[in-house]
Amino acid sequence: MSAPGIFSALEVAGSGLTAERGRMNVIASNLANARTTRTAEGGPYKRLDPVFEAKSLAPNAFDPVMRNIHKVEIGRVERSDEPGQLLYDPEHPDADEAGYVEMPNVNVVTEMVNLMTASRAYEAGVTSIESIKSMASAALRIGK
């Protein structure tokens, strides 16, 4: 792929969709475990944050646009080690000697906002793909 064309644009837009869906999965995990006080490793659930990375499409291309455009991908998912809120509940099975239970460091409101932005970004990606397809159809009409 030597010149920026329809198919390279579709690849880049598609990578955005994949990345946003990955982010939605991570957010879903955080929300589902917002009150999980015991995990397999012991201790409460820790919030996961996806890290988006730009991956160059064609770093050795002659065309300056192709050299500079990037696909997005989730490079890694980071676990946050921030301490969570301590709740005083001596009856709780996971309470420590002082009666405090450490809750997961998941802020439900923040996660909901992130979910909304991920959803909007996904819609924007779909709109991009629709307009790319419409450009390609216009190119095909040259021959009709």
């Binding site: 010149a3 064309g5 329809i6 390279s8 190119a139 095909l140 021959g143």
Partner: protein, 116 residues
């Protein structure tokens, strides 16, 4: 329709104008602003050269479009609008040759009627 055929028709046109249509040419000489030399030149560098050039152009464009379509079909080329435009240009230039040929034949038939 080959280049040689067009050349032959062009030759015929050149032969008709200076030698056989001398009566008409004498009339043209009387018109102000026309000198005999340029009249002869205009009829020599004529339609046949333009037509041959158009045929060459159509052949080149057709070959180019063919190459691009093969490359697109094989997945070697991604240029969508470039290929479509090249294919349309090739088609149009062939049609241009066709209509030039038709005009040329009509003109030749007209001239032949004058000659007779």
């Amino acid at each position: 329709m080959s280049g040689a055929g067009i050349e032959a028709i062009g030759q015929q046109l050149r032969m008709v104008s200076p030698e056989d249509a001398s009566g008409i040419r004498d009339g043209f000489d009387q018109l102000p602003g026309i000198d005999e030399g340029s009249l002869r030149e205009t009829e020599s560098v004529g339609f046949s050269d333009a037509l041959t050039a158009a045929v060459d152009d159509a052949a080149t464009r057709g070959h180019n479009a063919h190459e691009m379509m093969q490359d697109f079909a094989a997945g070697r080329l991604d240029d969508l609008h470039g290929t479509m435009i090249a294919s349309e240009e090739a088609g149009i230039s062939v049609k241009l040759v066709g209509s030039m040929r038709n005009k040329l034949l009509e003109a030749f038939q007209e001239l032949w009627r004058i000659h007779v």
